[in-house]
């Protein structure tokens, strides 16, 4: 907590205390004799991004990296409403990133590295994907002892209905009202299957717990507080699983939503060329090849898509703006609340 306060203090100093958006974490990676500074705002934890930043600095020795972590909605507020002067915006909320680019908050960047990206992984030469992260169902091995593991959402619904004694208060999912990524996954689910609303209602009847972040959900599955967590970031779960057994990542066979983490250079960036260098670094072959190993994030090149058949990557483009429509969002949240809150 003290660190966070300190970080906030730092940020207040940096931005002359003029911005209202909330940050979660902040760190400045200084170098001896810096010539340039790149300000990055991101939804990824420092822990996840730390190796990438250090690698970047090992190539670009004179660049100070100022790394700010914020939730996707706060990030949106920072850029859209307050015009905070960042050089690079990295977020997992593809819909918000698309809206920012669509509404003119991003600038174009073209380089040999961005040209390597397939068409579906970039938009307007402004948004660039560098990871492909599937949404996963994570279950606790202890709670599932003796139970059949569901292969699709229909089976999951049947299982939840059949064993309320096991699952009551032991289901976790994103609170879509506060989590941008949760909202993105939920809206994509609603597009992809008719059973989404039934699943939400069943989960609501079982007093599902709502979370802000994937990390917390995975923690609770490990500690036995949750029997299953729906729509968590599979990459986070895999990272934990590599060190510690006790959970299973269930491969859904009807479909798996795949989110792409995207980066763009804001229109008001002060060092757009350094930001471009960071994008090139993220997309470069060495970074992409070692991305999974160093950060646990599946790379956009030859990522998850090759292993599983039922992957349904979220497409960048104006379609993502639909669920950000104020009426649409209101209606969706109302429906969701009605389903998840049963009392």
């Amino acid at each position: 907590m003290r660190i966070i306060l300190f970080a906030i203090g730092l940020i207040l100093v940096c931005f002359n205390a003029s911005f209202a958006f909330e940050i979660e974490d902040h760190q400045i990676y200084t170098v001896p004799m810096p010539t340039q500074t790149i300000r990055v705002i991101s939804t990824a934890d420092i822990a996840a991004f730390d190796p990438l930043i250090r690698r970047f600095q090992s190539i670009n020795r004179r660049i100070t990296v100022d790394y700010t972590v914020a939730s996707s909605t706060e990030l949106m507020a920072a850029i859209y409403d307050e015009g905070a002067p960042f050089d690079l915006v990295i977020s997992s909320a593809m819909d918000l990133q698309t809206k920012l680019a669509n509404d003119g908050f991003a600038q174009q960047y073209v380089s040999p590295q961005t040209a390597r990206l397939p068409a579906w992984a970039q938009w307007q030469d402004q948004l660039f994907s560098f990871t492909q992260e599937p949404a996963a169902l994570v279950i606790s091995d202890a709670h599932f002892a003796g139970l059949e593991i569901p292969k699709n959402r229909e089976q999951l619904i049947d299982l939840l209905r059949a064993h309320p004694e096991i699952f009551d208060q032991r289901i976790g999912t994103y609170d879509v009202r506060s989590s941008g990524l949760g909202y993105l996954f939920a809206t994509q689910d609603s597009r992809n299957t008719d059973s989404f609303w039934r699943l939400t209602e069943v989960m609501g009847r079982l007093n599902t717990r709502l979370y802000c972040c994937s990390g917390a959900m995975i923690d609770d599955v490990y500690q036995g507080r949750l029997a299953l967590a729906y729509n968590v970031l599979g990459s986070y779960a895999e990272n934990r699983l590599a060190h510690e057994p006790g959970i299973t990542i269930v491969p859904m066979q009807d479909y798996v939503t795949v989110m792409m983490r995207t980066a763009f250079i804001p229109r008001n960036a002060q060092n757009p060329d350094v930001a471009g260098r960071m994008i090139d670094f993220l997309l470069s072959k060495p970074t992409q090849e070692s991305l999974a190993k160093t950060t646990g994030l599946p790379p956009v090149f030859e990522g998850a898509s090759d292993k599983q058949k039922a992957l349904r990557p979220i497409r960048l483009g104006p379609g993502l703006l639909v669920f950000l429509d104020r009426l649409k969002r209101k209606a969706f949240l109302r429906n969701w609340e009605n389903s998840i809150r049963q009392e």
Partner: protein, 463 residues
């Protein structure tokens, strides 16, 4: 002979005109291709915009006296299918924004037009194409006027347009080159008959005055007819002038013979040697004149016989002997000995005896004429692998002039013979006779230790 300076070229003019037409057509093609394709691309964008706005309009509904909207996913996602353009939308109910971008304003007519209305304007720093669809939505007592505005930037269109422009340029250039190549070929083949006729006329020998018979297209028939009638007139005028020369020579020669006889008679009766000398000079001049007239007649005769060539078996040795014998008295007058060298063998030949006799007489006559008194003329009968060679070598002054073969042309004489009267026809006759028999005449100056001179060799082919 004046050479024609060409005034322009039909082929070039044809090619240039056709190329200009091709260029014009290429430009027209470019404009049309570009126009049509860009119109098609713009229409595609308009159609998708209209479909998007219509699908939003269809999703409108009234609830609790208020207009509501469930924005369909496809309404915006369809706009992302053809390009990566930015998309903006706004839904207004009775002028109040229901949802979308508050500052998006597009031109729209009052009332409820049936057709979607399109406009292009600047929004958020970029050109956008916008559509407005207007609907009336009934909710309980009152009808709400709903306008749906959907706008999209035109970057994709600009890209398509530049691609189309490039394609149109390529098509235009390709068309131009193909058309120019074809017009070159067309011009060439159109003018080919003209070249063929010209070639047929050019290839003719100098005395070939037959009518032109080449197959020619209708357009060239008048030209060829005119050419043939010109040739006909030329031929008859040529014949007339030859006839005239023969007639003139004939008329001159007969009185000259009379004059000579009379002069001989007077010469014998004269006492004074001074007058005698003068008269002798006169007789000599008369001889020369009569000889020239004779040669003119010979020449006409040679031409006539060469045109209607008829041959018989001849012994050249015998012909040579006759010629030598006939001219021996003349040679003796100048104390010239004619030595015949015969290298043996067969000298049979198929030819016109009168022409050949004429030719040999002319050569020998010339040799005697240009030989100094008391000298030798060597006549040789020889043969090589392909020819009979009859040569006459004298000890005279030889031929002068840069180009010896000039002596074979009509009325051309050497540069060293002004003191001797001559017509310039003798060797021309010889040459024509040789040609008529498929042979040729070679004239050289030979160098002999006892005194050089002219050498004329008459070649006749063996077979």
């Amino acid at each position: 002979m004046t050479s024609l300076l060409p005034k322009g070229s039909m082929q070039r003019r044809l090619v240039i005109q056709l190329s200009l037409i091709a260029l014009l057509l290429s430009l027209v093609l470019f404009v049309i291709v570009r126009g049509v394709a860009e119109r098609a691309a713009a229409d595609t964008q308009d159609n998708i915009l209209a479909a998007s706005a219509t699908s939003i309009a269809d999703a409108l509904f009234a609830e609790g006296g208020q207009v509501r909207l469930e924005l369909p996913y496809s309404a915006l996602s369809m706009l992302g299918t053809i390009s990566e353009d930015r998309v903006f939308y706004r839904v207004l109910v009775d002028g109040e924004t229901l949802t979308g971008y508050d500052d998006l304003v597009a031109k729209a007519a009052l009332g409820v037009p049936k057709q979607p209305e399109f406009s292009t304007f600047e929004y958020r720093g970029e050109q956008v194409r916008a559509v407005v669809v207007t609907r009336l939505v009934s909710s309980q007592s009152h009808q709400a006027l709903v306008r749906i505005v959907v706008a999209q930037t035109r970057l994709g269109l600009v890209q398509i347009s530049s691609r189309i422009t490039l394609l149109a340029v390529a098509i235009g250039i390709a068309f131009f080159f193909v058309a120019t190549g074809l017009s070159l070929w067309a011009a060439h083949s159109a003018l080919a008959p003209l070249n063929r006729v010209a070639g047929a006329v050019t290839r003719r020998g100098p005395s070939d005055l037959r009518a032109v018979q080449t197959q020619a297209p209708a357009e060239l028939v008048p030209l060829i007819t005119a050419l043939n009638s010109l040739i006909e007139r030329l031929k008859s005028s040529l014949t007339r002038s030859e006839d005239f020369i023969v007639e003139a020579a004939h008329r001159v020669r007969t009185p000259l013979a009379t004059v000579r006889t009379q002069a001989e008679v007077i010469h014998r009766g004269l006492e004074k040697s001074k007058n005698k000398t003068a008269l002798r000079e006169m007789i000599r001049a008369i001889d020369e004149s009569s000889r020239s007239a004779g040669q003119l007649l010979d020449h006409a005769m040679v031409n006539f016989r060469a045109d209607q060539f008829q041959t018989e078996a001849i012994d050249l040795r015998k012909l040579m002997a006759e010629t030598v014998e006939r001219l021996s008295p003349t040679a003796e007058l100048k104390d010239i000995s004619i030595i015949t060298q015969d290298q043996g063998g067969d000298f049979d030949f198929d030819g016109d005896p009168i022409l050949l006799q004429n030719a040999l007489r002319n050569i020998l006559d010339n040799a005697i004429k240009y030989s100094p008194a008391d000298s030798n003329i060597t006549v040789t009968l020889a043969r090589d692998a392909h020819n009979h060679i009859l040569s006459f070598a004298d000890q005279g002054r030889g031929f002068a002039g840069a180009n010896l073969s000039d002596h074979l042309q009509r009325f051309k004489r050497g540069t060293n013979v002004n003191d001797i009267v001559g017509s310039g026809l003798g060797l021309t006759i010889v040459d024509e006779v040789a040609r008529a028999h498929g042979g040729l005449v070679e004239i050289t100056n030979h160098t002999d230790p006892k005194g050089g001179g002219a050498c004329v060799s008459f070649y006749l082919p063996l077979v």
